[in-house]
Every structure is written in C-alpha cells, then in structure tokens.
C-alpha cells in the first residue's frame, strides 16, 4: 500500500515474544492498521479533532502536574492495580484476588498458550471498525504489551480500580484491557489518573447474558496530557453496561465507545462530564449498535467550556431491522462560559426497524441568568451561584452513576475543580 510522504510512518517491527494466539492477534491488527492507515484530518470522524499529536512519532512532552488533592475514589474499598506510565507496578498494587474474580496481567498471559482472554483479545476491536475505521485502536492491539484481563464469574463485591500514574514527561503508554463478565455476574471497574504524556488505551468488554458492568473513570487533571481511549463492548441478553467518564483538563482527549447490543433486552448507558478551561480539547465519539430487539441505550454527555476550550461530540445510534422496540436516547450539551469556547456536534441516527423510540438532542448556551439571579437574591455570590448552576447542568450525567458513593466522589471533584477555576487559577 502506498503511504503518502506526509503520513507518519506506521510501526512495522512486531513486538517480540508472545504465545501463538497473541502473535496472530497482533499480526492481524497490524494488518488492519496498515490497510486503513493512521487517521487523517480529512477523515469524516477526525474533522473536529486533529489527530497529529496522537500519531506523530515523537511524543509531545507533558509537564508533570501535582493536583494537590487526594486522588479520587480514595473513600472506596477497592482492589487497586497501579500502572506507572503504562507499566504495571505490582509493588504499589493490591493482591489482585477476590471472590468470583480472576485478574491476570497481559504481560503474563502473553506467554500462556491457553487462557480465556485469547478468545477476546482483538476480537471486539476487529469488529468495531464499522461504520468507520478506528486505526488507533488497531494500533493499540498490535502494539500493547501491558494491560489486565479481568474476568467476573459471579457478583464481585469490591470494585477493581485501575490507577494510572504519570511520572515521565515523555511517556508514551499503550494499555490493552480485557473484561469478561460471565452470565449473571457483575463487576465495577474504576479508572483514574493521567497515565502518561500520551496514552493510548483500548478496552474490550464482553458481557454474558444478564451480566452487569459498571464503569466510572476520571481521566486525571494533568493539563498537557494527550489521550485516545477506546472501549468496545458486546452485550448479551439482558446485560447491562453503564459507563461514566469525567474529563477535567488535558490538552487532547478522544474517548471512543463502540457498543453492540447483541442480546435482546440489553441496556447500555454511556455518560460523560467534561470540564475545560483554556488549552483543552475533548472529544466523545460514541457508536451504539442495536442488533437485537427490546434494548435500551442512553447517551448523556455534558461539557463545560471556557477560555477557548473545545468540546466535540459525535454520536451515532444504528438500529438494525431486527431491533424492534428499541429505546434510544442521546443528549449532548455544552455550557459555554464565554464567547471563546466552542462545541462541535455530530449526532446521527440510522434506523431500519419500524417500531422504535429514538430521541436525540443537542444544545449549547451560557449560564441561565434567571436562575443565577434567583440564587444571588438569596445571598449567594455570583461566582458561587454560577458554580451551582454548572453542577446543575452536569447533574443529568452524574445521575448515570448508579453507586451513590462513586457519584458523590465525582460530584466533589467537579465542585473542587469549579472552585479552583473560579479565581482564574488552574
């Protein structure tokens, strides 16, 4: 295949070692990547977000940032797995064990011939390139040498918490996680931290019949970090997938989720709250595929932008002809706190079934002045009143977090961010 001279070179040297299944999956991913090429600004789904800094050979340096606050989820009893610049740090991690729970490091199972993860690694990613190619996910499968494989065989009591520390200004981390929640099992996964100067993360999630997966992540407050993340999920009959992402700060963040409702009566809720002040570009690109009847999906994305920050939402709901009685909902809203910030939106619906309820909406606007006056008339100063209204604006997204403790953790992070940014501090 001819590669234009302006294109960044694709990595060609295969990673050393690995069992046959892993080598096969990596080779296949490298083949996909070579065929689709790296993302270009002219690509339909990269019009709003410049891919260069995610694909260039040299990692743009990202200064380390001390957020001077206790890390999120500190109040939650959880199994902590720590990664430093994309490398698992066993000495900082908890014993990865629990009832109904199997956790293995990708670097370990890479040399194992027989492992459940072999059937999942790269499979959902490979299926996830329709309707658009996601080359950075294929790149991840081809190049990731670390990550975790988590399997729930029944209800798992404690959340599994992936903590991503950033210690090197030029780290270029690639992590690939596999999550399998067996029939009737349940798992909560937490993620937090900036991870690296540049972070490429891919997660494949397979949910059995009646399985439940809750995912809450906070992407870290480093200002200069860049990240592209993909979640590929496949839901069995009656399965439930609920995901919430908090993105505060970060030069560039692209979060893609590709969700296939493959079994009847499955539910997928994806939500996000993004806060950007200044050099901030955050992109949610979501594809929800209703491939079975009686499924419900909800997308709730809220962005608060100021000082030239940019928010992007590209969301598509595809409803197959078999997916009768689909209930789909999508809302993407931005609160623009000044005239410099922008919100770029591309909502899409493609429906082939006739008995379907699908609604979508998008708005952008400033603070509600009537509500602000109401609060001020009760003695609340203007800045504090505006913060309350920002939290009010974000409430619908936060409400998607089922667990009250986790919701409270996220809420307190949002409130703290707003308070810090009130005086123009970062």
């Amino acid at each position: 295949m001819a590669v234009p001279a302006t294109r960044p070179a694709l990595p060609t040297d295969p990673l050393p070692g690995g069992a046959k299944w892993l080598r096969t999956a990596r080779d296949a991913a490298a083949g996909r990547l070579a065929a689709m090429g790296l993302p270009q600004p002219r690509d339909e789904y990269w019009k709003f977000t410049r891919p260069d800094s995610l694909t260039q050979a040299d990692v743009p340096a990202a200064a380390l940032f001390d957020p001077r606050e206790a890390p999120v989820f500190g109040e939650v009893d959880r199994i902590r797995l720590v990664f430093v610049d994309g490398v698992f740090a066993p000495d900082q991690s908890d014993d990865p064990a629990g009832e109904n729970l199997e956790i293995a490091r990708l670097a370990e199972i890479a040399e194992t011939d027989i492992h459940w993860a072999a059937g999942l690694f790269g499979r959902l990613e490979a299926d996830g390139h329709s309707p658009v190619a996601r080359p950075l996910a294929a790149l991840n499968t081809a190049r990731a040498s670390d990550g975790v494989a988590i399997r729930a065989t029944g209800p798992v009591a404690k959340p599994v918490s992936l903590i991503y520390l950033h210690k090197s200004e030029t780290s270029d981390a690639i992590l690939h996680h596999l999550v399998k929640v067996e029939d009737g099992a349940s798992l909560t996964l937490l993620e937090n931290g900036p991870a690296a100067a540049r972070f490429n993360k891919c997660m494949e999630v397979e949910l059995g019949d009646g399985a439940a997966f809750n995912h809450v992540r906070a992407q870290g407050r480093d200002h200069e970090r860049r990240a592209v993340t993909h979640a590929f999920a496949r839901l069995g009959q009656g399965a439930s997938y609920k995901s919430f992402t908090l993105t505060a700060n970060g030069r560039l963040t692209r979060n893609e989720q590709v969700i296939t409702l493959a079994g009847a009566g499955a539910t997928a809720h994806v939500a996000g709250a993004a806060l950007g002040d200044g050099a901030f570009h955050q992109d949610d690109t979501v594809f929800v595929h209703h491939a079975a009847p009686d499924c419900e999906s909800r997308q709730v994305f809220k962005k608060v932008l100021r000082n030239g920050a940019t928010g992007v939402f590209q969301g598509k709901i595809l409803v197959d002809s078999v997916a009768q009685r689909t209930d789909g909902y999508q809302i993407a809203q931005a609160l623009l706190l000044d005239g410099d910030s922008q919100f770029l939106v591309k909502p899409e619906l493609e429906i082939y079934a006739d008995d379907v309820k699908c609604s979508h909406g998008s708005t952008s606007g400033g603070v509600d002045v009537d509500a602000r006056f109401y609060l001020m008339s009760r003695g609340i100063p203007r800045a504090e009143a505006e913060d309350l209204l920002v939290l009010s604006f974000l409430a619908e997204a936060i409400a998607e977090i089922e667990d009250a403790t986790l919701a409270a953790e996220i809420h307190s992070r949002l409130a703290a961010w707003l308070e810090r940014h009130r005086s123009g501090r970062r």
Partner: protein, 251 residues
Amino acid sequence: MLNIDDLHVKLEDDDKDILKGVSLSVPAGKVHAIMGPNGSGKSTLSYVLSGRDGYEVTGGSATLAGEDLLEMEPEERAAAGLFLAFQYPVEIPGVGNMTFLRTAVNAQRKARGEEEMSATDFLKLIRAKAAELQIDADMLKRPVNTGFSGGEKKRNEILQMAVLEPRMCILDETDSGLDVDAMRLVADGVNALRSEGRAFLVITHYQRLLDHIVPDVVHIMADGRIVKTGGAELALEVENNGYADLLAEVA
C-alpha cells in the same frame, strides 16, 4: 426600614420609562401592600429593589435601613436583610433544596462576618421551619423547585424567608397560581413571620391575599407611579369597583 424616593427606572435596552417617580416608605413592623393593574410597574419595582440585571435607575433612591440598596450586588442586598419571594420561583435541577438553602444561609452569614452554621444546627433549623409550612422531608431533598406544584413552589419561597430571616420581605404576586387552601398556608407562614423588627411589601393583583395578610397601608400603582395610598379598606374598594373606576377618579 425601606425608603424609596422618587425612583425612576427604565429598561437597559429600551428608552421607555417603567417607574416614573415612585416614593414610599415602609417602617419596621409594618405591612404595606402594592396593588395595581398589569403593566403598572409592580414587578419591576420588586426586581429593581432586589438587583436584577436589565434595568437602569435614571433617578431617585432606595435605601434599606439607611443603606443605599441600588449600589449593592443582589447577594449584598440579601445579606443586608432584603428578601424577594418570586412570582415565578426558578427551577434548578440537580441542586438539592437543602444544599441550596444551606449555601444561602452560610453565604449570608459569611457576608455579615458571622460563623457558618454547622450541618446539624442547620438540619434542626430547617426541620422546624419546614414542619410549620407542612413541607415534608422529600420536598427538602428534591432539586430546587424542580417538579414542584405551584403551591409547593410558593411554600418553598416562604420557607426560604423563614430560614434566612430577612428584615425586609417583598412578596411578588405570591398568591398567583394558588388555590384557597394553599394561599391560606402561605399567608399563615407570612403572618407567623410578622414582627416588630420586620417589614413587608406585598405586591398583589387581587385583594383576596390581603384578607389573609392584612396590610397596614395599601398603595395603588398605575403607569409607574403610586397614585393612591390608603388603609386596608382601599383594597376592598379595588375589589368592588375595579381599577378603572379608581384610576378615573385620580386622573
């Protein structure tokens, strides 16, 4: 308590005058009512006094216990003891009523250099006040005014008034959208707050609210001016004869 002298107000982006020289004085411990037809400037007066954006004062003054109200930000006016019960209380989804009230109480205390109220003390206070207004725990937990009925919204306004303990209360058409029972509940709430140190300015369209909150003085407002002032019996006159007769009489 509240002194308004020859107040002239226009909309910021329109040259049309709305208030054309309003003067009135409400002493501590008294209840004054302002009645008047639609468009007479009653609500504008309440907004200008509480500091809403969009209005320009072109003349006159308004003071609260000697302090110049018009120079203050809305939150400073509140901390100085002014309270406006809104005609249309604003719904704020996602912000709990309790959080809102506690933020307001503590913001005012902070502005006055007082210590913030502890969560426990606040809870005690609010429970006692809420019970008097038949506001249940559920209504306190729900987001501010969100999904509240008309009556619940107005009771919530009076609850805020009871908790914030202002010295000057302005009620802007508090009776609108209320049935008889709800109005009685709201009026009882207001009457319970009447005291020597506190003054009220009750703005209303109809006389019926004044059956329950009996005013000391009634002002009739028309076309941006107070055109007539009298006792509680003036409200009855309006009720019986309508504004047209009364306005013809003063014109």
